[in-house]
Symmetry: C2
Subunit: 513 residues, 2 copies
């Protein structure tokens, strides 16, 4: 791609002024419209050093409402960032609906500067590209506009700019040894750029090359690119809304389609035939109180020790808890953490998303809560809500929950690749046991807060939850992030199984290293 | 995924009969409806040896109209197949709109049996998965239903079935040494299966595990899976059509949207700023008649020799010609092939697609024409029609031509990975030169057939063709399949450049090996 670029393009001062006046007005209008429609926008600035990224960002934001955007300079990782999976700091910076995030440098550094300086190993490169494409595809699927600008200058121009900066005492610090090195090996670095452009120039997040030898030309092309991408998305969203409205009207009149009946029918039939992972669980498994006490004590002691070891070895742990209401999640988590150092773990209870969370991708709030190296993050209900409650209650579309299996597998792979131990527990009880526990809660004044009308309503959808759970367990149990079904009719047995699973997983990992 | 499968499922004879009666009727109905709606269907049977793939295909096709499907057994490559890129034999077998292709074994063998027996090298595995996913995504995007069935049995059952086959004289030949080997190393093979399932279980082409210990259960689950996938797609297509109709109605009344105006405006602006690769071509380059004759003679002699060498070394060559009408494609191809052995090359003229071609993915007809190892395929007009004439004339949607850049890059990468030399030529002339040549053709009775009214009409769209060409050249010129812009105002110069480019590329490749 780069070899075909014509870097000689220029714009006269007059042409520039004439064009910019119009473009600046347009950008302001489009920003407001994106806000109204709730369209999130990401703008990525990448390219050669001294190509003018900072300068151009300055020009771009001049016509934007400052309440609607944020600029993120992406430099070397901070201590905090280094202790998280690589994509963590970008997930946490994705824009809410209607807002704009501008990245000065980005997630591409891992396959550019970090690759060039061998901080990213060559064998990690395929995973890194997979991770980048998956991130962008997920955001695009969620309605984000992704604008990727590649600022291009040639080797000679770059050298000239570095020299100029170096001569001036006030700017000399901006030219690093790495800059000089990359200029000297410009061709080699350009090959890496080329590789990156080809692997990540997708229809959902295309690259635009900005010829940046001439500052004015570059500014106009950046403005135009941003305007075009925003206008395209606005048009698309407006068209979609119009189509949906029109289709709703039309549906009222039309007879129901035969195909939809057959599809429903086949759905029901499929459910009967579906792999029932849950039905294989042996719910008669149990421990006596004595067995329980003895095992619990032993395991908690082990966990305490292992927790320290994890911290020293900087291994992060992610534990997800799902399962039936009253399945014993709380009790298990309590026993698991009882002897752990509270500075080393966090329990994240997952309720319905709040307004800020709703304005982001559904995985955003979980990414934010992912543990630092050496820490343990426990989730009481998880990102699996997407393929359970959101699926069943119609809080997301069929397309959305169907692609979620892959999105979740990809996220957990990212965590694993960053060194984390990832385990998901399904706390399993049968319907009778749930009824017994619900009634017990209702009758016990101290437990009444734990039971709501919604719990009884969800219970009525038991079969649909079971079907969804079976599909989820099948599609998302992986080597790197397995599901563990916990036979939970007996609380003693369940708690011990959770603890012993965690202990075994940590021990196995410690032996590996 | 596999470890979670419950293989104990069974169905009684009575249940089976009851269910099948209904399912068979349904399948027939859906096949007819798919035909009416022009929905193509691919059904893939994979799984463990002796799991009953052949048997189950027999049951499945019993309720299908035999005029509407074809079964393709995929065994070891034939001589012919081995001499083509791996995906070639599957592309050529993709169903036309409304038809069903059933694969007994498939493109997955490359990451299963071929991987297990080390015919696929481990370092080729990432490319193989990319290639598979890209193939399936392209077909799904084009409206194909892709149903992937994985027939699962356990090691013991497999052993039992092999033993039974081996004991009977008439079936003993069906059990190969490879079968015995894979049974002995069942766990290892299952791990490869697992890896494959995870890397290719996508929302556009999901896998369904068929528990195949019990024949009846498997048949019912296969029928149900196929029925569900077909009904879902029918529903989707019907809904889309209804939405489009409704939106058309609605559009008639609605005012035009502001965003669409801004988008058009930005489009125009972008075009001005776009990298113009073509404008850099120096069209004054030329040779005298003497220079031309001398060079041509020398180059043709070289080509003749190199062509033989290519054949001996089994290297395939793909040469694509695009460019302006009257740009000199025909003349260049003529000089290129003049001294080549006609048994070793084919020139494929690309006209508008015929009815059969229209009923397939747009890349299908080009895949069919890809050369065997050691052969040269020359395309006079190419698959780039998608992002040129089809884009400009509105023969495909914006989404379709936008994703075509990636599809084309992926296809050319497949060709390159299979060892091919791939070069694309853009025969470039300016507008004045074209007018001169058009007039010359009109005035010369022997050349009149070469010029039509359509040529003059296309000429009026010169600017739009130029913009599209520039974008195409930028997005699809790769290391492995470069674009070469041929300065063509002087025919002598153009022909020599084409020949010398081909010579250089072949020489470079021969030195590599």
């Amino acid at each position: 791609m780069l070899e075909k670029v014509d870097l000689t393009k220029k714009l006269s001062k007059e042409d520039y002024k004439g064009k910019m006046e119009h473009l600046e007005v347009r950008l302001g209008q489009l920003q407001r419209r994106c806000k109204e429609l709730g369209i999130p926008v990401l703008i990525v600035f990448e390219g050669f050093g001294a190509a003018g990224k900072g300068l151009q960002i300055g020009y771009l934001i001049q016509s934007m409402d400052p309440r609607g955007f944020q600029v993120f300079p992406i430099k070397n990782e901070t201590e905090e960032e280094r202790m998280h999976p690589f994509m963590w700091r970008f997930w946490t910076k994705t824009p809410a609906r209607g807002r704009i995030s501008i990245f000065d440098g980005s997630w591409y550094r891992r396959v550019l500067i970090d690759r060039f300086e061998k901080r990213t190993k060559e064998k990690e490169i395929p995973d890194a590209f997979h991770s980048i494409n998956s991130f962008e595809e997920q955001l695009a699927d969620d309605g984000n506009v992704i604008i990727k600008l590649f600022l291009d200058i040639d080797q000679k121009e770059q050298r000239k700019r570095f020299d100029k900066l170096a001569k001036n005492k006030e700017t000399a610090w901006r030219v690093t040894q790495g800059d000089i090195e990359r200029n000297a090996r410009y061709g080699e670095y350009a090959d890496m750029m080329e590789d990156m452009l080809f692997k990540t120039d997708t229809d959902y997040a295309p690259w635009t090359i900005i010829e940046s030898m001439d500052r004015r030309f570059a500014t106009v092309k950046i403005y135009t690119t941003v305007i075009k991408a925003m206008a395209d998305q606005i048009e698309k969203v407006e068209k979609q809304k119009a189509e949906e409205r029109a289709a709703e009207e039309a549906e009222k009149e039309s007879e129901s389609l035969e195909a939809s009946i057959v599809a429903r029918e086949a759905d029901r039939e499929m459910k009967e035939l579906q792999v029932s992972i849950l039905s294989k669980a042996d719910l008669s498994l149990k421990y006596t109180r004595e067995e329980y006490k003895e095992k619990l004590k032993k395991l908690q002691k082990k966990i305490e020790k292992l927790h320290g070891e994890l911290y020293r070895r900087r291994i992060p742990v992610v534990l997800g808890f799902e399962g039936w209401d009253a399945g014993g999640k709380g009790g298990a988590i309590k026993r698991l953490t009882q002897k752990m150092d509270p500075r080393g773990y966090v329990v994240n209870p997952t309720a319905s998303p709040n307004d800020i969370e709703k304005a982001h991708h559904y995985l955003w709030r979980f990414w934010k809560a992912m543990p630092k190296d050496g820490h343990v993050a426990i989730f009481d209900r998880t990102w699996y809500g997407r393929v359970m409650v959101e699926r069943i209650e119609g809080f997301c579309t069929k397309e959305e929950w169907q692609r979620a299996y892959k999105e979740i597998n990809d996220m957990e792979k990212d965590l694993y690749d960053a060194g984390a131990i990832v385990i998901k527990f399904w706390m399993h009880i049968d319907k009778d046991e749930q009824e017994r526990r619900f009634k017990e809660r209702q009758e016990n004044p101290e437990k009444q807060w734990k039971i709501t009308d919604e719990d009884w309503r969800n219970r009525e959808k038991w079969d649909r939850y079971e079907d969804s759970a079976n599909e989820m367990l099948l599609r998302t149990s992986t080597d790197y992030a397995p599901w563990v079904v916990v036979e939970g009719n007996d609380k003693y047995y369940a708690r011990v199984k959770v603890l012993s699973t965690v202990v075994k997983a940590i021990e196995a990992r410690l032996q590996e290293k």
